[in-house]
């Protein structure tokens, strides 16, 4: 009986202490100590991640990796050409205007990317070594070579957490490059996303490139337009349904990324 009471009193002490710390943390009073603790511990975590990334991907120079890189480059050229054509026609018409906001890309190194089976499963989130002291804010878009990686969901002084586009909690408005049809992308987990809310009358087909539509607010938080999300790999079109659906796969291999870029304003 005495042993049980001993456990109980110790448990109650630490449980109450943890609850107090949790409450203070939620209210924002402990952001500085948390940042300092993470700053102290993260170099080791970052080294572990880098080492694991290096050893689990020994064939980075293989033919397949090169082809994937070339493919990403070609998609980028297609998107750039399409955007230029649209801008040209807007200028020629003199009725449409394009607003260009100055952007600052901040390089960030990935220090953590937990996944179920490292090197095999896709991570759902990334931890980067940039935080609020670098002017990173919750809601900032994160990209890699014009491909959308995700958005910042948590940020302390020195580090930030990014929810990937494949995360089940991610969704945004999108458009099809070829037909400009509009829709909504939602993360499905692993490497895929679901394209939904596309009108039955819209023209979409397999291999269509999916781009962000652009949903930035007045402060610049959100996704700029024309960032690549992925490629459509299947289309489900049933006449009885109001909308068409499809599956989208990202052109990026998130488990291989070591550096990303945060779009700041």
């Amino acid at each position: 009986m005495a042993k049980k009471e001993n456990f109980t009193s110790v448990f109650l002490f630490f449980a109450i202490l943890a609850l107090i710390i949790f409450t203070l943390s939620k209210l924002g009073f402990l952001s500085l100590p948390a940042s300092i603790a993470q700053k102290a511990l993260s170099p080791i975590a970052g080294s572990v991640y880098s080492a694991f990334n290096f050893f689990s991907n020994p064939s980075k120079d293989s033919t397949i990796s090169k082809i994937k890189e070339e493919n990403r480059g070609l998609v980028k050229k297609i998107v750039s050409q399409s955007v230029l054509q649209k801008e040209n026609s807007a200028l020629a018409d003199q009725f449409a205007t394009t607003s260009v906001r100055s952007q600052t890309l901040l390089t960030a190194k990935i220090v953590g990317a937990p996944s179920f089976i490292p090197g095999v499963s896709n991570p759902q989130s990334l931890i980067i070594d940039r935080g609020t002291k670098d002017n990173v804010k919750v809601g900032n878009a994160v990209i890699y070579k014009d491909n959308l990686v995700g958005k910042v969901t948590e940020a302390n002084l020195y580090f930030s957490k990014i929810d990937l586009i494949t995360s089940p909690s991610f969704s945004t408005t999108v458009k099809i490059l070829r037909s400009q049809a509009a829709g909504v992308i939602k993360g499905k987990g692993e490497k895929q996303m679901i394209l939904d809310n596309v009108l039955q009358s819209s023209d979409i087909k397999v291999s269509d490139i999916i781009l962000t539509k652009g949903d930035q607010d007045i402060k610049g938080i959100g996704f700029p337009p024309d960032l690549t999300l992925g490629k459509l790999i299947s289309v489900a079109k049933k006449p009885s349904n109001l909308f068409q659906k499809g599956e989208v796969v990202s052109l990026l291999d998130f488990s291989n990324l070591s550096t990303v870029f945060v779009i700041r304003y």
Binding site: F116, I127, G189
Partner: protein, 143 residues
């Protein structure tokens, strides 16, 4: 004790940078089952804070989870024998399941099953090494 602390550090680093499996939780579960000591609580509390800092979770969340679950494990010890493989497997599965739900990690069922398997394997290794004199109780019939 030093070996235990080093193991905690290694598993915490793996959990924060490489995998979503709750390796630290599984380690404390095994420690609670074989050792049944109160020193588990302060170490779990501090480790939880470190995990929360590295994963950008609200501080105290993991510590609270660990404290509650370890307490439940030790409460069970008063009524049932916990140094058995079925108990370790079930406790790991249920605890991991709750962990994934609480921290919004996907693939809950698959990862909980993998966690339970890892925990049972590590318990088997601990028992096999006979560091805690529980071989007979765990079902290792010798002679």
């Amino acid at each position: 004790m030093w070996f235990f602390v080093i193991l905690i550090l290694i598993l915490a680093l793996l959990q924060t940078s490489v995998t979503t499996l709750p390796l630290v939780f599984l380690l404390f579960l095994n420690a609670a089952v074989v050792a049944k000591k109160t020193w588990i609580f302060p170490i779990a509390f501090l480790t939880g804070l470190a995990l929360d800092a590295l994963l950008l979770n609200p501080l105290g969340k993991t510590s609270l989870f660990l404290a509650i679950f370890l307490f439940i494990i030790l409460l069970y010890d008063k009524k049932f024998d916990i140094q058995t493989f079925p108990f370790v497997f079930l406790a790991s599965f249920i605890g991991s399941f709750a962990y994934f739900i609480a921290f919004q990690i996907p693939n809950v069922f698959t990862q909980a099953t993998a966690s339970a398997a890892i925990s049972t394997l590590s318990f088997w290794i601990l028992v096999g090494l006979n560091r805690f004199n529980i071989k007979e109780k765990a079902g290792f019939n010798e002679g």
